[in-house]
């Protein structure tokens, strides 16, 4: 029977142990999201503060990471979120997880608090905690460079780090692994609290695969489909423009968050479109820095050659950051947006939450709810490029009043400012809303409302089907359909969650079938011979476990938490095809709960938990 090894790190004791994952657990939870949920549900004691020695962080691979499967790079980082108080998990691509597996490890569970700044050094069987006092305060690029220099040998070490923002416990922080961001909900701040600055990995081992020939066969089928697809293929939309290829379509659908979601139509959308980035900062789409084994190649490198931000070089911006730091803050200058994203990466701020929170503060400023007194003199108006940059610098260093407001995220900022600003604080369960206006795509509203980490655009992503021509023009796929949305979103949720257990990048599902094409690769890699139903159940199981985590951690958790910002429910959109719309959430939520086997309060029923083999959860939430 297949097995995998994980590392368990206790920073308080300074101890590290290796544990073999029980094969039955491995089959049921597979990896990534599922296995992270299994370990954290069982190992974090109920109701401990997110900032505590008892809270843990899980870093988890899936079975396809590092194999020949296309885009087999995406690993999971999860914890109890200090931003929301509930579950959070996020995914990073790039090269870091390949190396972790090459060192012989499937995951790392980190608990305790170190006495002083520390980093974890992994080189095959050698695993040590080392002093990071000299790195504390360094930005993510500097930390990565220093650790690479220190540990470079026959192979390049891979570095995962937190930035200065997380050291100062900013709640909207993310981990940066080989220049790629992982995680929303303040996962990096938990590491900052634990004083774990970085994880350096070097590995020389072969990554275990149950049936290499079968895996190559299945991967070939997937690759061929990806290559032919106009979005994922050679010179396809991702290779040209990355995820930002959708800006103009989203704007035409009236769903491009603009000036803190006051409308979904940005008058300068052309200026910040993927097409415009491609033709300027991305040099015709030639400046790519793709993940290994990826055909989509969505990642572009922006080089700013002139103007006040000249000299800045950074990956991105992707669609989410581009929009939240761009139109959502009223910014139409590409150089400013690319610089803003660079600063997020540098300080370890999470771009969606940063753009959302700053957009909110700009609206507060324009409405007179805050003044220059509250912003340390910054003229925080929509469209003010310098103000955006200043807000990020201060947020990233948690400096002054403005820095603190940015770093606390939108829910707490609204609670601090008060005066009714909560009505336009755009978050769900405390997690800032990403770059799709739900009044223009009701399915996205349902996704945000009940996703297991708060407002998330990928659990699942219905926008392409609703508004971007990825599904037929018929119910339930039309943007304002209500009937049928609940069951559809539920099915997609479980499938996407299953993909998040495998280690492949979700973006390949634009070119291959998430079950039909990915499952044969999973089976070849694991030898588990999942049926399609069992495979999707892995995703459903993971989603029910994270749901149960919320019920266990938050005493009054339930339906009232599965909601949307007041603005989305009560303030009709003023322009675009969705003019006049608000989100009719309740009927969709009813349908979702029914399809999910949850009760009217959104709690997984005992029968559903038993069906999924989650019996151990029952007495924790009933």
């Amino acid at each position: 029977m297949r097995s995998e090894t994980i590392l368990k790190v206790d920073l308080t004791k300074g101890s590290i142990s290796k544990e073999t994952v029980d094969p039955a657990v491995l089959r049921n939870y597979m990896g990534g999201k599922g296995l992270a949920a299994y370990y954290l549900f069982n190992e974090i004691p109920p109701r401990v503060p997110a900032f505590s020695a008892e809270n843990k962080v899980a870093i988890m691979c899936g079975p396809l990471i590092g194999t020949v499967a296309p885009s087999s790079v995406k690993f999971c980082v999860a914890t109890k979120s200090p931003l929301t108080g509930g579950w959070t998990d996020g995914y990073a691509s790039g090269t870091w997880a390949d190396m972790l597996r090459a060192a012989g490890y499937y995951g790392i569970i980190i608990g305790g608090i170190a006495e002083k700044p520390t980093y974890l050094y992994i080189e095959d069987d050698k695993v040590e905690l080392r002093d990071a006092s000299d790195l504390w305060g360094a930005n993510t690029y500097e930390t990565t460079r220093l650790l690479k220099e220190r540990h470079r040998s026959d192979i390049e070490p891979m570095v995962l780090t937190i930035g200065p923002a997380a050291e100062k416990l900013a709640l909207i922080t993310t981990v940066i692994a080989e220049y790629r961001a992982a995680g929303r909900g303040g996962v990096a701040a938990v590491l900052g609290f634990k004083k774990l600055k970085a994880i350096v990995v070097k590995g020389h081992k072969e990554i275990p695969v149950a049936n290499p020939e079968k895996l190559e066969e299945a991967a070939k089928v997937a690759r061929e489909k990806l290559i032919k697809n106009p979005i994922t293929g050679v010179r396809g939309r991702h290779q040209q423009m990355g995820t930002s290829n959708i800006v103009l379509g989203v704007n035409a659908a009236g769903a491009l968050p603009t000036r803190n979601f006051q409308t979904g139509v940005f008058e300068y959308a052309e200026d910040i479109s993927g097409e415009s980035f491609r033709d300027t900062l991305w040099m015709g789409g030639q400046r790519r820095r793709p993940c290994p084994r990826c055909i989509n190649q969505c990642t572009h490198v922006a080089i700013i050659e002139s103007g006040k931000w000249a000299g800045i070089v950074d990956e991105g911006p992707d669609y989410e950051n581009l929009t939240m730091l761009g139109s959502n803050c009223g910014i139409s200058d590409k150089n400013t947006i690319a610089t803003a994203e660079f600063l997020c990466d540098l300080y370890g701020l999470e771009g969606i939450s940063a753009g959302n929170t700053i957009g909110f503060l700009m609206e507060c400023f324009e409405k007179g709810l805050i003044t220059k007194e509250d912003t340390d003199g910054v003229n925080l108006r929509f469209g003010n490029e310098d103000a955006l940059i200043e807000a990020l610098v201060r947020g990233g260093t948690v400096t002054g009043k403005l820095g603190k407001l940015v770093a606390m995220g939108v829910r707490r900022a609204a609670d601090t400012i008060g005066q009714g600003s909560q009505k336009f604080a755009m978050h769900v369960k405390g997690l800032e809303m990403p770059a799709y206006e739900p009044r223009a795509a009701f399915g996205m509203g349902l996704c945000y409302a009940r996703s297991d980490r708060g407002a998330c655009h990928l659990r699942p992503w219905t926008f392409g089907a609703e508004c971007l021509g990825l599904a037929p023009r018929e119910p339930p796929y039309l943007p304002y359909d209500i009937q049928g949305k609940g069951a559809w979103v539920k099915t997609l949720n479980d499938v996407f969650a299953a993909v998040d257990c495998t280690g492949v990048c979700l973006f390949i599902t634009f070119g291959v079938d998430a079950v039909e094409d990915i499952l044969p690769m999973v089976n070849a890699a694991t030898g588990f011979n999942y049926t399609a139903e069992e495979y999707v159940k892995v995703g459903e199981r993971a989603s029910n476990l994270t749901r149960a985590f919320w019920f266990r951690e938050v005493s009054d958790f339930g339906r009232d938490y599965d909601t949307l910002p007041w603005r989305c429910l009560h303030e009709p959109l003023p322009s675009g095809p969705a003019k006049g719309k608000t989100v009719p959430l309740e009927p969709m939520l009813n349908d979702y709960y029914k399809a999910a086997g949850w009760d009217a309060n959104g709690k997984p029923t005992k029968a559903k938990l038993q069906e999924l083999g989650l019996d151990f959860v029952i007495n924790k939430i009933y």
Binding site: P230, R237, S244, N245, A252, G464, L468, G469, F507
Partner: protein, 91 residues
């Protein structure tokens, strides 16, 4: 678009923008519907891409007439702007 001519503007977002450019003008007859314009677009783009893919793309694209979603049977008049939001995918 020339004044007096019975034409509509068709704008493309997403995949078809690569194929057809940002916009074209399409002549229409009296009582034309969006479906007729789509047929015309299909004919014009056929030489530029695989027919089967084009059919699928047009079947799935979202249609916005003068800023409002409209079904295929909607009447279309000279001077109208039809935006075809064709496949694109992000995250």
């Amino acid at each position: 678009m020339e004044a007096g001519k019975k034409e509509v503007v068709v704008k493309f977002m997403g995949f078809l923008r690569e194929v057809a450019g940002p916009e074209i003008t399409v002549p229409i007859k009296d009582n034309s519907k969006i479906a007729d314009v789509l047929q015309d677009v299909h004919k014009r783009l056929e030489p530029l891409m695989e027919k089967e893919l084009l059919t699928k793309v047009l079947r799935n694209s979202r249609l916005v007439l003068n800023g409002v979603y409209a079904p295929d049977e909607t009447e279309i008049n000279p001077g109208d702007v039809l935006t075809i939001i064709s496949p694109a995918a992000g995250g």
